[in-house]
Symmetry: C2
Subunit: 137 residues, 2 copies
DNA sequence: TTTTAAATCGTAATCATTCTTATTTACAAA
DNA sequence: TTTGTAAATAAGAATGATTACGATTTAAAA
């Protein structure tokens, strides 16, 4: 998702566009990477001195709920990134640089067959390691 | 893993067997289910009034590190269960009763082929939903 | 039994996250 | 353009999970 689509999503749901919210989008639009709320907060402080943690948290979860961002729990802390793509996929996440690479493979069809009577509501599949760049560094 | 094996693992690594540690093992030996530290703490208090949170947490992570227990993050809280089995597998976890069912299917062979130059250190694959029992209830 | 390092207690600190109230702001309608 | 109003934000405190620490107790080896 790009910044323009994100703004449209926000307004379609009746939320207001603020300069803080727009700034957040530009932050996430830059990289294919998961960030913590704290990292975003640091970035926001440069432009909005004295910005509240609450504003960062609230908007992160708002964007997450709207599907503008996606999130995952890494090392006990929630991480966020721009929602990437329309087709279902998973991620390889580099333990060093944090960048994410799409994995276009999902075992859920087979799992559904195996589980039969179980009602499946969701699943999590993530692969962790070192990307080629971080291996050579 | 059963209680006897767990005790052997503990002693093999030079840790002492205490009545608290044994009690923890019996707690986890009972059910195929993930529990929080708080749930264990409640259980422990009945037998050891005034037991410290620290003792519960420390031992949970000790067992986790030793492979006696396995853990996963559910709803922002770490959950533990007895490490089950020798062969690699994953779990379906019921959102209602918390019980876990093994899934003997792992997509990592294929993922390794796809990822090529990426160094894979770990992966997480979990399926969530309602088990047959909780669906009818 | 004695010794001693490990384990535990009691409590406080830390960290991520959420909540509360007063103030400010976006934006729709006049 | 100005105004009214609901939404957004600031500031800081509350909450909940987890970890840390000095003092005390205990497991288990000698």
């Amino acid at each position: 998702m790009n910044v323009k689509e994100a703004i449209q999503t926000l307004q379609k749901h009746g939320f207001k566009m603020t300069n803080r919210r727009e700034h957040i989008l530009h932050f996430f639009a830059k990289e294919d990477k998961y960030f913590t709320a704290k990292e975003l907060y640091t970035y926001m402080e440069a432009t909005f001195p004295g910005i509240s943690f609450d504003t960062v948290y609230r908007n992160l979860h708002l964007y997450d709920d709207l599907g503008v961002l996606e999130s995952t729990e890494l090392k006990g802390e929630k991480h966020f990134r721009m929602n990437c793509g329309t087709t279902h996929h998973h991620h390889f996440i580099c333990n060093d640089c944090g960048k994410a690479k799409k994995i276009h493979l999902c075992p859920m069809d087979e799992v559904e067959r195996i589980l039969g009577a179980y009602k499946i509501d969701g699943h999590k599949f993530e692969v962790y390691g070192l990307c080629p760049t971080c291996q050579s560094a």
